[in-house]
Symmetry: C2
Subunit: 139 residues, 2 copies
Amino acid sequence: MVIIQNVGQYLLDNGIKPSIQRIKIFDFLMKNHEHPTVDKIFLSLSDEIPTLSKTTVYNTLKLFQSQGIVNIVNIEDHETRYDCDTSFHGHFKCLECKNLYDFELENTELNINKFEGFKITESHYYLKGLCKSCLSNKI
Amino acid sequence: MVIIQNVGQYLLDNGIKPSIQRIKIFDFLMKNHEHPTVDKIFLSLSDEIPTLSKTTVYNTLKLFQSQGIVNIVNIEDHETRYDCDTSFHGHFKCLECKNLYDFELENTELNINKFEGFKITESHYYLKGLCKSCLSNKI
DNA sequence: TATATTTTTGCAATCATTACAGATTTATAA
DNA sequence: TTATAAATCTGTAATGATTGCAAAAATATA
């Protein structure tokens, strides 16, 4: 995962004019590793930016996606989450506490070349189950 | 992938009373490997069962899921697809023709044991890109 | 300072999914 | 067979996430 010092500059480097809303939304994604939903982002930033509109959150995330600095994490239907870590990694979702954990994954570990003549541009891998703490709570 | 000769019996074996609707819906999933959406299933079966309701399709798929004979394939947000092949396999989605291809995958190929103390119950893997025929059409 | 452009906002529209209650079908018991 | 109960199916209304759109606000340009 790339460490971003200056969000404004990072946005600029990726062809995005850094408005207050855009900076705060990206910043929120960086600081909240749980891969928040639009709702979570909106509610969390509403204190800081009282005029914030949910449409802006949607628009901004769509812009981030189109510039390739944010990926969608699609595990449950009707629970679109966003991830500003664009390096290759997997996700684990705990069915009990609903938390989402990242895990590192060598691209080569999943280098499945069963698709000769196909061009692969994205690969996604996720697991579901029970996390350590939820398991120990069950005893 | 398990080959099912008698859908009615298969449903019974899995604790589902085989109504006409249930049999036809499962049968449709078996014969249509593209992992259809609710809409596709509903529209395709409307000729055969003119009284069919979309709610029934939803209810039936939910029942199949709860009995473990159908899995959800969640690749795009807002495009829930259904798969009656419950054996472990991966999916490839072509960004051009939107077709979904299955591919075999040894469970061991993805046996990532980075989660000591975690209990993993599901694992999902999918790729996106361009399929062979769409690639050759581009030349 | 005036004007053009970009960004944000709020509300209405859309679309997939679910809730629900009545209608229909199937199973059970007399 | 017939009456009754249980399960299943259906259609419509409700919900909730997302998008479209046009006006308002902010920023850039001349």
